[in-house]
Amino acid sequence: MRVYIGKRLLEIVPTVLMITLVVFVMMRSIPGDPVVALLGDAYTEEDAIKVRAEYGLERPILVQYVIWLGKLLQGDWGVSILNGRPVLHDVLLRLPVTFELIALSMAVALAISIPAAIIGAVRRNTWADYTATTIAMVGVSIPEFFIGVLLLLTFSIGMSGALPSSGWVYLPGTCPTIVCAAGLLGNAQHVLMPALALGVGRAALLTRLLRASMLEVIRTEYVTTARAKGLAERPVIFKHALKNALIPTITVMGLQVGFLIGGAIVVETLFAMPGLGTFGIDAIIARDYQQVQGFALVTAIAFVVINLLVDLTYTFLDPRIRYTG
């Protein structure tokens, strides 16, 4: 098992390298120059040339990449071209916000999808099944920003400000800044709508997937055997069927992390959250290459690590699965 984990961790290195290289090349290939954004109304061609030289932007792309990589190995993620802030500092400042958002979105998705899928599978072709399936279909079809706007209109504008529309309150003891709001209730109030906006779409997808998986599993012989042995329906469903049906669902959950990070960009912008999503989109719009690289790096690592954790989860769900070196 340890050998397997070690191998998988080593595999992260080429994957992350590949992702960062692609992002590096792509960012420099799209039209736009961060120097223009930096100089703004002070722009002159002479100053632009000087600034490009200061940041090494006039060098060949691969040379720039190697330099960036060299600094990265020394723990230097670079500084923002636009505001001079250390990229790693800003990434670490924003990561907890996005991490909490994604974790809670996934929790929302599971809280909706598991019961809906079980009901749909156990009471197949009944009104309960049709309701769950229809809601899932609607959920999949509505984009996050639209759900977000609906939630805003309902809970922030429509219900006399029942929930705050924007901003962020940190969990107690996690304030990273001088001026900072922290509190459990405030945090819950601020994260609820974004997590719902992001989680509902994922819930819909997982419901459909888990329902199909459950339908397959409850027809298998070992489930029939469990019933024949006189086990009550509840342990049959939850202990025997659900655990096995969860394996493909968990695989998809891991893959969904990428979509959640993409969705976080939209949701964080809508709810004005100081997370990694807004950091990424601002960096891309300003062509702040260093920040974009930082964003790509952290999301690539997160994606690979989470998928590794997903693979390891299989062993707990199905003891027959064993990883060897």
């Binding site: 039209p31 736009g32 120059d33 961060p34 223009v36 954004a37 930096l38 100089l39 703004g40 109304d41 002070a42 722009y43 002159t44 061609e45 100053d47 632009a48 000087k50 600034v51 500084v79 923002s80 636009l82 505001n83 001079g84 802030r85 250390p86 800003d90 400042l93 924003r94 706007v149 805003l152 209109l153 922030s156 504008i157 400000g161 705050p164 529309s165 924007s166 901003g167 962020w168 800044t177 001088i178 001026v179 912008t269 809508l270 709810f271 004005a272 100081p274 997370g275 807004t278 950091f279 601002d282 719009i285 300003a286 062509r287």
Partner: protein, 536 residues
């Protein structure tokens, strides 16, 4: 009987008013304390006030920093760190007397040396300040004594005080001690201690993507000010979220609100105080006049643009082919002024030249026919709009539709992001026409660096020296009456040659909660929170 009842009722109301008057009077007495929560629609670029682009930074600089003087909405100059100023009759020598009690936030005095240091820094090409162009007329700055500083000009500059007060941020004084102690990078990222001003608020912290906080400077030179303890600025980019935050009372002040949502804001928040004023920002449909003759961007060797290099085409499309009234009606719901003149109606020395460009399809067709375009040879060009404001796309769409009515003109709309637009236009890239609102203009002179032939920001890249000559004459004329005459000549010339194709003014809105008191609206030019207080 009925009139008796009415009289009794009136007496009752009057008595009530007398009894209640102390409460109302009390409500209008400024209260100290509280946090003003401000919403910005865009992120602050960085915090080096002399170089960072964007209004968002400027509105911070105006509250953390101080300058020599400020300007009121009616154009009067009022004292800031300078208590008085005077000039010689030829306008070449300006002397500023500084107040004695002005301190930077690091405790060092705001003296003549600090003023000289700040102006010299702005004029230094190594600073790469967008303000440098405005100081072209400055020959030197001399310290007379700790409280007196003298600025010698190379030539008279009628707008010297305007420039110091309100061109871009106006002059923001830098503490020499702090500037030498911290690096540019430190200032840009807002490192603790590096942002040192002499304004009413001290910098606390800037957490990009989250907030910028400033707090009262207790040793501010105006006794009793500011009233607020703290100002918290947050960035809320989505207008719907911004409106929800405002309705919930999560923000007290929206520093720049999109015109297309003003009606919704009014409907949702009848108590909201909508602040707006004379239009000072031009909304233009710029046409490129020349392109590099040698194919190298920014080359001084120019040749006419293949389409808009021909004045007849520029006039047909920009002057007669565009119905400005219809654009304003659709894009701004009528809340802007159709305006052909280069400087919008709220700018000093504005000139109405709308009669030069009436909407006239027949004239447009005739000019295009003269230039060789017609049904057998349609005119196709690219119309660029950027994603910064949705109104740009609306205007581009209306223009496309209006030109389509000519029968043989097709404007292909290309939507790009702001940085792409800036790259293309600033670096002399390939473009035909774009829709954009540029800098707010407090004077016609402040538009020189966007429209004379040598300016980097003169995107049409006309190379007509007459424009430069008119601008120079205008700026150097000290007689206000004669200046007006030159302004008229300049604006008419620009419209006649279509070097600057204005559509209208671009309205600017701020929104305040009813409990936010003491704020004086002065468009984008002066955004000060020193006299603001919260009546909660």
């Amino acid at each position: 009987m009925r009139s008796l009842r009415l009289a009794t009722f009136i007496v009752f109301l009057a008595s009530l008013a007398v009894i209640a008057s102390p409460f109302f009077a009390d409500a209008q007495t400024p209260k100290r304390g509280g946090t003003l929560r401000v919403s910005y629609g865009n992120e602050i670029a960085n915090l080096d006030f002399h170089t960072a682009p964007g209004y968002e930074m400027m509105w911070v600089a105006m509250n953390i920093g101080c300058g020599l003087l400020n300007i009121t909405p009616d154009g009067k100059f009022v004292s800031d760190a300078a208590e008085s100023w005077s000039s010689t009759p030829d306008g070449l020598l300006w002397t500023f007397k500084l107040r004695k009690n002005v301190l930077f936030h690091d405790g060092t005095p705001v003296d003549a040396a600090a003023v000289k240091f700040s102006i010299d820094r702005l004029m230094d090409p190594n600073t790469k300040s967008g303000m440098r162009a405005f100081y072209e007329s400055v020959h030197s700055v001399e310290v007379l004594d700790p409280q007196s500083v003298q600025v010698r000009l190379k030539h008279p500059y009628a707008f010297f005080l305007h420039m110091l007060a309100a061109y871009r941020t106006g002059l923001v004084l830098y503490s020499p001690t702090a500037t030498q102690k911290f690096s540019l990078e430190d200032r840009k990222q807002g490192k603790p201690g590096s942002i040192v001003g002499c304004g009413p608020f001290k910098f606390v912290e800037w957490v990009k993507g989250s907030h910028l906080a400033m707090e009262r400077f207790d040793k501010y030179f105006v006794p009793g000010l500011p009233y607020l303890d703290r100002v918290m600025i947050r960035v809320i980019k989505d207008p719907i979220t911004e409106m929800a935050a405002f309705k919930n009372g999560e923000v007290d002040f929206i520093a720049s609100f999109s015109p297309e949502h003003v009606d919704t804001m009014k409907a949702q928040n009848p108590a909201a105080v909508i602040l707006t004023g004379k239009e000072t920002t031009p909304m233009l449909a710029a046409m490129k006049v020349t392109v590099p003759a040698d194919g190298k961007p920014m080359s001084k060797e120019r040749k006419p643009h293949p389409i808009f290099g021909d004045l007849r085409v520029r006039k047909a499309i920009g002057c007669y082919g565009i119905d400005r009234k219809e654009i304003v009606k659709i894009a701004f719901k009528g809340q802007a002024t159709p305006w052909v003149g280069m400087n919008p109606p709220g700018t000093l020395d504005t000139v109405d030249v709308n009669h030069l460009c009436p909407y006239d399809q027949a004239k447009a067709k005739a000019l295009l026919a003269e230039a060789g375009y017609g049904p057998s040879k349609p005119l196709n060009f690219e119309l660029m709009a950027n994603t910064e404001k949705s109104v740009f796309n609306v205007i581009a769409t209306v223009i496309k539709d209006q030109l389509g009515r000519l029968g043989f003109v097709n404007a292909n709309i290309r939507v790009v992001d702001k940085v792409h637009w800036m790259n293309t236009t600033l670096q002399d890239g390939p473009w035909d026409m774009y829709v954009e609102d540029l800098l707010s203009l407090i004077t016609l002179d402040s538009n020189a660096y966007l429209s004379n032939s040598t300016s980097t920001w003169s995107h049409p890249r006309h190379n007509d020296p007459k424009v430069d000559e008119l601008y120079a004459r205008y700026a150097r004329e000290l007689d206000a009456g004669k200046r007006k005459v030159i302004a008229k000549e300049l604006v008419e010339f620009m419209a006649d040659k279509m070097y600057w194709n204005n559509i209208s003014g671009s309205p600017f809105y701020m929104v305040a909660q009813p409990w936010m008191k003491g704020y004086t609206y002065n468009a984008e030019f002066e955004v000060h929170y020193d006299k603001v207080w919260l009546d909660k």
